[in-house]
Structure formats: C-alpha cells, structure tokens
C-alpha cells in the first residue's frame, strides 16, 4: 500500500539524545519507529508483534509501528534519524524530508539494526 512519508522531530525520539546517552538498543527502540493512523493500522492488518517494511524505489527499512490518531490517514511519520534518512531524497540539489511516496507492508522480519545501516552506508552489504 502506498503512503506519504513525513519525517518529524519528536522530543521523546531525539537522535542527539540517543547518541549522547543511549546505546544501540535504545537507538533502535526510540528511532526505528513509525507512527500511523489507527485506521491505516487496521487496513494493513497489523498487530503489535508485526513490524513495518517501508520502501522507496531504491531502499527499504524495517521499523516498529505505533498507532497515533494525530497522524492523517495515508501518512506515515518517522522521527528524524538514520532510519528515516535511508528513505529521504534529493530534488534539484535540495533535500526532501517530507511528502515522500513510499510503499508499506507488514512484516515479521526483525527491525533494521543500526550496525546494518552503518554497513550499508559504508558499502559493506
């Protein structure tokens, strides 16, 4: 199912805080997370034990999912972090952090680890 991805800043899911005070586990708990409207949660037949695979044309991430009635239907919100930025884009030499079309599906696969992202960035697949 196609969604609009918006990256957002949330004080409880803050990457500077996690990098300063947390560890890889807390990074993943607080930043590898997405928020969608409860109606979309039902449409995707999600349950709390499932994760969400979010893909653009080139890459995908697997993150936890939380219901948030403040998120508009058809939109998925992810805190600004190394996870969300695997899907953000460039348009005319400007960075696109919002309104990115992504495809979303429920998955049993584990959350994408911080170390795995670093390896992908460094070209070590």
């Amino acid at each position: 199912m196609d969604f609009i991805l918006n990256t957002i800043r949330k004080i409880d899911n803050d990457q500077v805080k996690e990098h300063s005070f947390g560890n890889e586990q807390s990074l993943e708990e607080n930043l590898a997370i997405s928020f969608i409207n409860p109606k979309d949660f039902d449409k995707l037949n999600l349950v709390s034990s499932l994760h969400l695979k979010i893909s653009n044309n080139q890459r995908n991430i697997i993150v936890k999912i939380e219901k948030d009635e403040n998120v508009p239907e058809g939109t998925i919100m992810i805190p600004v972090s190394i996870w969300s930025n695997q899907l953000t884009e460039i348009l005319n030499d400007e960075l696109v952090y919002k309104n990115i079309v992504v495809s979303v599906e429920a998955t049993r696969e584990p959350i994408l680890k911080f170390k795995e992202i670093i390896q992908k960035i460094r070209g070590i697949e």
Binding site: N6, S20, N70, T75, S81, I82, Y97, I118, G123
Partner: protein, 434 residues
C-alpha cells in the same frame, strides 16, 4: 548560583540558574528538557574525551599528537576539502573554520543551508521583515505556526512569546491569537485556547492554501464552499480576517514549509503572500521568524557576511574567495570533494543515504563532543569542549540577536574548545605559525 545562557537550542534562554563550584554542576534551574540534556552531556556516557583514529577498520584512542598528525596528513593529501556543520559552535569557531577553509582551499558550509538559510536568503532578497522575540512578546497579537512544532523543537518558545505580557500592551495571552497550520496535530496544538485557530491542512497542499489566500487576500467573498486543502470555508474566513486585521502578526516557519517541490517554489509563494498582505494592511504588518534548532545556526551567515562579505557557503581557491554555484548537497552529490571535516554535526544521520554513503567513501575528520553515526565512520575523531558550559563565545539566537555564552566548568582532560582546536590545526598546517 548564577544565571547563564543555555546552548540547548537556538532560543539561547538567558535565564537559566546554575549552581556550580567550578568543578561540577550541582543544579540547573529553569531549563527545558533540551536544556537539561545539554547540561547532562557533560557527563554523558557517550561523551568523547579522547582523540581517536581508525586503525584496522576500528576507532581506537590516540594521543593528541598522533590524531593531529593524522588529521594534517589527510588535509595535506587533499585538493578539495569539504568543511561542514558549524551550527553547534560559537561564531569565533565559525570564523576559525572559515580561516581553515581559506588555508586549505576548501569549501565550507553550515547546516543552515539545508534548513532555514534557504528561507532567510529569499526573505532578504524580497525585503521581508524578520522580527525578534522581544518584538513578538511586546507587540504581536497574531502568531501563526506554519509547518512548525516549537513545543518539541524549541520547547520554551511558546512560553516566551505566547504567554508573556508585552511592554506596550495591557494584556498578554488574552489578546494573542494562535493559528497553527499543519497536517499533523502536533504537541504545539496543546496550548491552543478557544479563540485560537487550528487548521489541519492536507499533506503537501500548502500551495493551494497560499494561492487561495493570495487571490482572496482582502476579500473573503469567493472562498470555495467546499474549502481548500482540507480546511473548511469558515476557518478560511477566520484566517483571512486574522491575517488582514492583525496589528502585528508573525508567521513562524518550520521545516514543514521549506521542502522543495518540482513545479513551484513554496517559500517564494509564501513570501509573495506576505508582501501582498503587508502592502494591503492598513494599520499593521506581518513579519517572519524562522525556526532552526541548532544553537548557533544563525551565526554562520553573520560571520561569513562580516568576514568575507557574502552570506552562507564559501569556496576558496589559491587562498582567495571565489564564486561557486555549488551547495553542500551538490558538492557531496557530485563527489566534488576528496576529504571532509565535519564540525559539531552528524551528517551520516541527517543526510539522505545517497549523500551519507558518498561522504563515507572519502576520509572524514570529525570534531565533536559525543558519539554519533558520523563518529562510527570517521577516520579521525577530535573531541572538543561543550560550548556554553565548558567554553565561552558568541552565538546568534533564532531571531538573529547575538548572545554571549559563558564558561561554567573546565572541560575534562583539558579538551580544547572548537575555536582553539581549529586554530591549532591551522598552526600545524603552517608548521607552527598561524
């Protein structure tokens, strides 16, 4: 106990009370969550207190001599160095960064260029009024948050501008109307009262709202009955009344409205609207405030302007400033650099994968005080003191007002400040002379 300015975010609150004996901070009073985190960083478990260099693909602790020698070696082997960050350092350190860029014929840019700097330059070129926090407190009767969520990014901003009593008005919150335009009901909506206006706009439909407001600027007669961009007609009428009737209004712009679009420039459209309203306003005016998170995001432009006569990025060749059409994004995207010096920021986390992967392919020197995704891929990590706690200097607040940050404690292990370290690098590159 003494008052100190806080370097937790770009609001630089100057009313934070700190109890310290000069060795430890015993108590911090009046700081928000972000401010408290800033003070807690002094003893954070991921604080970097020793230089590190990459050996056998692993970062290991090194002596300052060894780390600086490695840094100098990387820089000397480079013909197109890239310097980036500089929003979490003082103006003095920004100036030292520019001096280093000049010395090594590099390209230097700050985080502002991918954030609020984009609006600032356009607003300046159109002659739009920017306003100050004090002016908002004292005079404003209309506050519009457009794609901005200060409750979670600059936590005390709304306290200061919405709830404070102004000098030139008899009342405070009672006469200030808050309008929030956002596709998401963010935490900032929680401060809204009955006379405020919450406008939940459909995602990416801001352009439709702006165009309607431009067309209907001083007449609400022909607003479509079905509303625009998910906002109904009665709310649009109220918005128009507020925009055209406010004595002093401010639009606070956040990241939500600075996104690029393929077919139009939303920022220019919004600035046009502002000009139109101000031209037609009989008694008041609407001005702008730009939200930027890093504590000295505004400073880089001021320093570049006062030092080199241009605002924003600087490209040096043969130790002279030259014109360049490049931006930090185009430089990395075209791989038009052969090493990078990252100062006080985490581009591996905050840039899209296509850029962070290119950045990681070339030697990277990181100057910062805590671990980050960037420190995981850096070839050299040089720690510095925490500005505003362990070192002093000038910073420009969110509204372009300069604030002097003060030193409270000595840094651990005699870590230098960003300014000292950058000047030390220049000296090393010059064989001892600055």
């Amino acid at each position: 106990m003494k008052r100190y300015p806080c370097s937790g975010c770009s609001l630089l609150c100057d009313d934070i009370i700190v109890k310290s004996d000069g060795l430890f901070i015993e108590e911090v009073i009046g700081a928000c969550l972000k401010g408290k985190e800033r003070f807690d960083q002094v003893n954070a478990q991921n604080r970097i207190t020793s230089p590190m260099i990459r050996k056998n693909n692993e970062l290991v602790n090194a002596s300052w001599e060894e780390a600086l020698a490695k840094t100098v070696e990387i820089i000397k082997n480079s013909s197109a160095p890239l310097l980036y960050g500089f929003s979490n350092v003082t103006c003095e350190a920004q100036r030292a960064g520019m001096d280093l860029a000049k010395e090594i014929n590099g390209f230097i840019d700050s985080n502002a260029s991918i954030c609020q700097g984009k609006i600032l330059n356009k607003a300046r070129s159109q002659g739009i009024n920017l306003t100050t926090i004090t002016e908002i407190i004292n005079k404003v009767d209309l506050i519009i948050l457009w794609g901005a969520n200060p409750a979670e990014t600059i936590p005390r901003l709304l306290n200061k501008i919405l709830f404070s009593r102004g000098k030139f008005r008899m009342t405070g919150r009672e006469i200030k109307t808050l309008v929030i335009i956002d596709p998401v009901k963010t935490a900032s909506f929680r401060v809204m009262g009955v006379r405020d206006l919450a406008l939940i706009i459909q995602p990416d439909k801001d352009i439709e709202l702006i165009q309607m407001l431009k067309e209907e600027c001083c007449s609400a007669d022909s607003i479509p009955s079905g509303g625009v961009a998910g906002i109904d007609k009665s709310d649009l009428k109220r918005l128009l009344l507020h925009l055209t009737g406010a004595e002093n209004g401010v639009i606070i712009l956040g990241q939500g409205v600075i996104q690029p679009h393929a077919n139009y420039d939303l920022i220019e459209e919004l600035l046009d609207l502002l000009q139109l309203i101000n031209t037609r306003q009989a008694k008041g005016r609407i001005s702008l405030l730009l939200l930027g998170g890093h504590f000295n995001m505004a400073g880089f432009d001021h320093v570049a302007l006062s030092s080199y006569g241009v605002s924003g990025k600087l490209q040096f060749e043969n130790k002279k400033l030259v014109k360049s059409e490049d931006t930090i994004v185009s430089k990395i995207n075209k791989e038009n650099f052969d090493c990078s010096i990252i100062v006080g920021t985490d581009p591996i986390s905050h840039l899209p994968h296509s850029l962070s992967s290119k950045l990681s392919k070339k030697p990277l020197i990181l100057i910062d005080n805590h671990n980050s995704a960037t420190s995981r891929i850096a070839d050299v990590v040089l720690p510095t003191a925490i500005t505003g706690i362990e070192s002093s200097g000038l910073a420009y607040r969110i509204d372009q007002v300069p604030v002097e940050l003060k030193k409270i404690l000595n840094p651990p292990n005699n870590i230098p400040s960003d300014e000292e370290l950058l000047n030390q690098l220049i000296e090393k590159l010059n064989g001892g002379a600055k």
